[in-house]
């Protein structure tokens, strides 16, 4: 048998192969999500607790003046809805990165990384898959919120989609970047304290920035620098058929930066090489 006759592979990959790969990764992520019903329930319960309990109490003490994109006075529940949508995506992004750390510890990540398709593309597919799962959760939240009289214009359900995709990619890329630096699953709890909570609370998710500025000018600038603030504002404006251009620019740039960072970190010659083999292997 001539080895050269049977071993000349095609150079490069066809579009169909790229699409098949993307479909496979999204399909697997969706299957895993559906298998983990508790994850879906907890993803919904978390924002609903904020909406049904926290917002009802806060409504009495925090007045919301008319600020864009709103054209009239709104209930506090209406104000925090975009923040809660972004929160769902933030938690989902971190959950996806937790899942990547788990996959790495369990060995599943190797299955992905030894695929012949370009590694940047595989990681991008992972991001898209995580974003798709977050969209399911956000729209389920919007359906429940509708019964709570949080009803943006009907067109808002459509116009918010691109904003959700972009913010989902940004938060997913951030999670992926963080997960590339976490060596053990146990260390992931620290992410909750040092990433999720500061990002969520130092943003415009729960209170308008002018309110923050009144209380603490320093915190105001921290909020302005927080990419999560801009994800929230991007979603808020898009939900009402408008575009917040500054937020769009910030979220777009942060998405690109986090994605490049994540792909760089997973490059075998840079990221994984520093970690050494898994326990027990040499």
């Amino acid at each position: 048998m001539s080895s050269t006759a049977v071993t000349q592979p095609r150079i490069g990959f066809s579009l169909a192969e790229y699409i098949t790969c993307l479909n496979g990764i999204v399909w697997r992520e969706a299957l895993r999500f559906l298998h983990q019903r508790e994850r879906f329930v907890s993803a919904l319960v978390r924002p609903l607790v904020w909406l049904f309990i926290f917002a009802v109490g806060f409504r009495q003490v925090l007045g919301i003046s008319i600020i864009p994109p709103y054209e009239t006075y709104i209930l506090y529940e209406v104000y925090i809805a975009p923040g809660l949508m972004a929160m769902i995506q933030l938690f989902n992004g971190m959950q996806s990165s937790l899942s990547m750390v788990y996959d790495r510890e369990m060995g599943n990540m190797r299955t992905l990384l030894v695929s012949p398709l370009p590694r940047w593309y595989l990681l991008f597919c992972k991001l898209l898959a995580g974003t798709a799962v977050s969209l399911l959760q956000v729209y389920a939240f919007l359906v429940i919120a509708w019964f709570w009289d949080i009803a943006p214009p009907p067109i808002g359900y459509l116009t918010v989609l691109p904003a959700l995709i972009l913010s989902g990619l940004m938060l997913g890329a951030l999670g992926m970047l963080i997960s590339s630096g976490i060596k053990q699953l146990e260390n992931f709890a620290g992410v909750m304290n040092f990433v999720i909570f500061p990002m969520f609370f130092a943003s415009s998710a729960l209170y308008p920035l002018w309110r923050v500025q009144e209380g603490s000018p320093l915190l105001y600038y921290v909020c302005l620098l927080n990419p999560f603030t801009h994800a929230v504002e991007l979603i808020r404006f898009a939900l009402y058929g408008q575009t917040n251009w500054i937020s769009l620019a910030v979220v777009g740039c942060c998405t690109a930066a986090f994605m490049i960072g994540a792909i760089y970190a997973y490059d075998p010659s840079r990221g994984l090489v520093r970690r050494g083999p898994a326990g027990g292997e040499t």
Binding site: M1, S2, S3, T4, V6, T7, P9, I11, G12, F13, S14, A16, E17, Y18, T20, C21, N23, G24, I25, W27, R28, L31, R32, H35, M106, G107, N108, R110, T111, L112, L113, V114, S115, P116, L117, P118, L122, D267, P268, S269, R270, L272, V273, G276, P277, A278, G280, E281, T282
Partner: protein, 273 residues
């Protein structure tokens, strides 16, 4: 060929076949490969080739550097020094073309336990760009070959250890690679499961012409017709046909040959990694 011969081969590693047609492109060629984890040296000047349609055993104790070598060949780690090519495709320069020809079974289980047998295969096929219909056909084919066709819908976590390993081998063959790497594929399995898997892999060599690199620390998995690479403390101590290595070591079986070679390595004062 013993260690002294191995070092001379390092001058032109990609062309140094073990014993087959020298004109044939090696299934796997490793040349001057070294790797460190910080100050700790894991591999030093590794040189050997795996011929197409051959069974090559990579024999080494735990900690010899087998898994590091596999991580480098599969591009999980970046190459620090040296080169690796699969059927002539340099893994650093043309990773897509090289990985297309490579199937791998890692030492730790890499199946998704929450997915079914078929779902695991379809996921792997998608990662290689194989369309769903073709993937199903190939999956049915490999499952019937490994006797798991009745477990298609079973969750992987419900399979036995031996069945999981067979499934991993089937999965590694789904994209029809020409080179198969198996890292300690029989660890933790009972005697019968070990024999079944080893026999299945040897059949792949003879019936499908696949080149196999079989990493193990178990002497009884190596037989006289195999090619052998002895890896110890990150260095290749000997490589060549099993019979030649036994003869050159002045031993009567592979077990004693290995002990003599590794004992000699310690006596010669080679630095431990």
């Amino acid at each position: 060929m013993t260690a002294s011969n191995a070092s001379s081969a390092s001058q032109a590693p990609p062309a140094s076949g073990l014993r087959r047609d020298p004109a044939a492109i090696p299934a796997l060629a490793i040349g001057d490969l070294s790797h460190s984890y910080g100050p700790r040296r894991a591999l030093t000047d590794i040189n050997f080739t795996v011929a197409p349609a051959s069974f090559t055993a990579l024999l080494g104790l735990n900690g010899a550097g087998k898994s590091t070598l596999f991580s480098l060949v599969t591009r999980l780690f970046g190459i620090q020094a040296g080169r690796i090519s699969i059927f002539g495709h340099d893994i650093s320069l043309a990773p897509g073309e090289a990985l297309r020809l490579l199937g791998v079974v890692f030492q730790p289980r890499t199946l998704d336990l929450d997915l079914s047998v078929m779902q695991n295969l379809l996921y792997h096929a998608a990662l290689h760009g194989i369309a769903r219909r073709e993937a199903r056909l190939r999956s049915d084919e490999v499952l019937s070959r490994i006797g798991l066709v009745d477990r298609t819908g079973s969750k992987v976590r419900d399979l036995s250890g031996g069945q999981m390993r067979r499934l991993e081998i089937a999965r590694a063959l789904l994209h029809r690679p020409r080179l198969l790497l198996l890292d300690e594929a029989t660890v933790g399995l009972d005697v019968k499961a070990r024999a079944d898997i080893l026999s299945h892999v040897r059949q792949l060599v003879t019936e499908q012409g696949i080149g196999v690199l079989w990493a193990t620390h178990l002497f009884d998995e190596v037989i006289s017709g195999d090619d052998l690479v002895v890896l110890h403390q990150g260095r290749v101590l000997a490589r060549g046909p099993v019979g030649d290595i036994i003869a050159e070591a002045g031993a009567h079986d592979i077990n004693s040959a290995f002990m003599r070679l590794t004992g000699a390595a310690v006596e010669s004062g080679r630095p431990a990694p």
